[in-house]
């Protein structure tokens, strides 16, 4: 039972993070390798706002979420906008460089020590007994619920929302979409901000659950195989991929060797790339040249 709970929680973490990978990739065909760092930045923003709004946790969270939304827009407007139309590799490397820059800045501003935003917010993280004998911490439970809610909202938004339809159009054929009057820059900025927002939510919840330091980036990087296994341009795929990767990881840790935890997602990824490079639910595309 505990194993199943662990798998579900880890899958929820991966799903919430990989949602951001998928959003950006689906709309602008850019793989955002700075997603882990943006997620960490979101968590650190919560740490700061928690210090500012000590008596009012909800305000702190709301302000942190707003800030991370702004960060996403800024990243697009100041940086990625210049890379539209460049080679795919150049854009990906720009995100890598952005990640390095952010990691350095985060350590500069917030120091490298482990901190926990739950302390200034006066949250406690008790464990709940589940029927059937498993245990789950409160924030892990909230994380699972938030993931489910996020996916429901994003699905509905992409399916029915006016801007969601525009986002899908821009992803399918940017030129045609632009000619039909879709403002591509606004769409891309929206995708980046939504992606940063969901990533930050994941970062904040993980930080509240288990503390915060710069190793959080690794979690972000491990979520990326989950997105790719499911198919980089499919939200449904991201869910399925997260479940697969999380299950493989938890089972490998439990039955084989705890050291495997960092490598299992990538092993799954290699297997997937060998069999079906475009992922479980992804569209088969003309894979790009350098």
């Amino acid at each position: 039972m505990q194993l199943i709970v662990n798998i579900v929680v880890l899958a929820a973490i991966y799903a919430l993070i990989s949602c951001g990978y998928v959003l950006v990739y689906r709309v602008s065909r850019v793989l955002n390798l700075a997603h882990g760092e943006l997620m960490m930045l979101g968590a650190y923003l919560l740490l700061s706002t928690a210090g500012l709004f000590a008596g009012n946790p909800m305000a702190a969270i709301a302000v942190a979420l707003l800030l991370s939304l702004t960060v996403g827009i800024l990243v697009y407007v100041l940086l990625m906008r210049k890379m539209t139309g460049e080679m795919v590799l150049a854009a990906v490397l720009t995100t890598v460089a952005l990640g390095i820059l952010l990691r350095g800045l985060v350590v500069l501003v917030w120091s490298a020590q482990q901190q926990n935003p739950a302390q200034p917010l006066a949250f406690t993280n008790a464990a709940i007994e589940l029927p059937g004998g498993g245990r789950i911490s409160i924030f892990a439970g909230i994380l699972v619920l938030v993931t489910a809610a996020t996916y429901a909202v994003v699905f509905a938004f992409l399916r029915f929302g006016r801007w969601g339809v525009r986002m899908r159009a821009a992803g399918q054929n940017p030129l045609l979409a632009a000619q039909r009057g879709v403002n591509l820059h606004a769409i891309y900025a929206l995708a980046w901000s939504l992606s940063t927002l969901t990533g930050s939510m994941a970062g904040m919840l993980i930080a509240l659950d288990s503390g915060l330091d710069s190793t959080m980036v690794i979690i972000g990087l491990k979520a990326f195989p989950a997105a790719l296994v499911g198919g980089l341009d499919s939200l449904l795929g991201a869910l399925a991929g997260s479940l697969i990767v999380a299950a493989a990881e938890v089972l490998a840790i439990h039955y084989i060797d705890p050291l495997l935890s960092d490598v299992v997602p990538f092993l799954v990824l290699i297997a997937m790339l060998a069999v079906r490079p475009w992922g479980l639910f992804g569209t088969r595309e003309e894979l790009d040249r350098v």
């Binding site: 793989l31 590799l89 460089a97 350095g104 490598v263 092993l267 790009d288």
Partner: protein
């Protein structure tokens, strides 16, 4: 290989011997001779610290040349370069620890392991391109580093493997000056191998594959074979660089081969200039010396002691910033800047090259 170097005056090659020559004009001969003299004189003039920097630059140059071969010429992206360096270093470490193998056995072994891993890294390239290939090499990097870490913990070297300096003619190689010359020879040999590979049939095949795979196939180039060959050669050289690194440091640990190392090698090719061996060398110099320059700059500021603890973070963010600036504003890298300066003097007093055919 066609020569990208512009020539101001009418220099013509009149026989095949001259067409094959690497160094052509008298100016090139003299500047090359001066450069070699400077390289040979350097270790006798420099402080140990500068000598160590030079050695690091040579090591980085070997690695970046091999990555340039793969990415800049054959057009295959790799984000797993650190994994290959780790493979070379661990081959040395394991052979030394388990069977006390001497260096003339471990270096070829490292090259062999690198070549075999190159096949493994290259296999996805037969099916995947661009982004997906980069991702698969990234995944393989994690696997290689995991295996190294597993060996460390299983055998009880959890802090890392120490390696004795190699013995040559009964003498242990410890002095920095000796290492300088050894690494210089290896770097020069790598450069020569790369230059000659690129202007032969192999290099032309890689160029064709990079330009357009379908056309290359139609021209009768075995695309799969040449892609794998690019991976094998590049990985073998990289593994040797890793092995040299292990000997030079006398210490191997997985900590040294993080994803950041892969990225800094990719940064070398980008900052230096894609598709140019000169670029690989310039990039290696730039990226290796960059943190030290930043450190010196920071310590020269008033109140230096306050920054000392933040040095690592400052370095990190400055590196990211420089990489972004190059990607956005100077995608051709340092070589692009160099070529622009050359063109400025060659065309002076004009600004632009005349359109072909406009001259009578």
């Amino acid at each position: 290989m066609s020569r990208p170097m512009p020539r101001a005056s009418g220099y013509f090659r009149t026989d095949y011997r001259r067409d094959l020559g690497l160094v052509e004009t008298r100016l090139e001969w003299t500047s090359l001779a001066l450069f070699i003299v400077a390289l040979l004189a350097f270790p006798f003039l420099a402080s140990p610290f500068h000598l160590d920097l030079a050695c690091q630059v040579f090591l980085a140059a070997i690695g970046s040349l091999s990555l340039m071969l793969l990415t800049g010429y054959a057009g295959q992206i790799s984000l797993g370069h650190a994994g290959l360096l780790a493979a070379g270093a661990f081959t040395v470490g394991i052979l030394f620890r388990e069977v006390q193998a001497p260096f003339w056995l471990t270096l070829p072994a490292a090259a062999l392991v690198g070549g075999l891993l190159g096949i493994l890294f290259g296999l996805p390239s037969l099916r995947l391109r661009g982004l997906y290939l980069a991702v698969s090499t990234l995944a393989l990097h994690f696997v290689v580093v995991y295996l190294g870490g597993e060996y460390e913990t299983r055998r009880g070297f959890s802090t890392g493997i120490t390696i004795d300096p190699p013995q040559i003619f009964g003498r242990a190689l410890t002095s920095n000056r000796a290492w300088y010359f050894i690494l210089l020879v290896f770097a020069a040999a790598t450069l020569l191998i790369c230059v000659n590979l690129l202007r032969s049939r192999t290099g032309r095949a890689w160029g064709a594959i990079r330009a357009r795979e379908t056309v290359a196939e139609a021209l009768g180039i075995g695309v799969a074979g040449y892609k794998l060959l690019a991976f094998v050669i590049s990985s073998a050289i990289t593994a040797v660089a890793g092995a040299l690194f292990a000997y030079y440091r006398g210490f191997v640990s997985v900590e040294a081969f993080s994803l950041f190392l892969s990225i800094s090698y990719v940064a070398m090719t980008i900052i230096g200039g894609m598709g140019s061996l000169l670029g690989a060398l310039l990039g290696a110099v730039f990226v290796t010396l960059f943190p030290y320059v930043i450190e010196a700059g920071l310590l020269a500021l008033p109140g230096a002691q306050r920054y000392a603890g933040q040095l690592f973070a400052v370095n990190y963010s400055a590196f990211g910033l420089v990489m972004i600036l190059f990607l956005v504003f100077e995608p051709l890298g340092l070589v692009g800047i160099w070529h622009r300066i050359q063109a400025y003097f060659l065309l002076w007093p004009f600004k632009h090259r005349p359109l072909s055919g406009s001259r009578k």
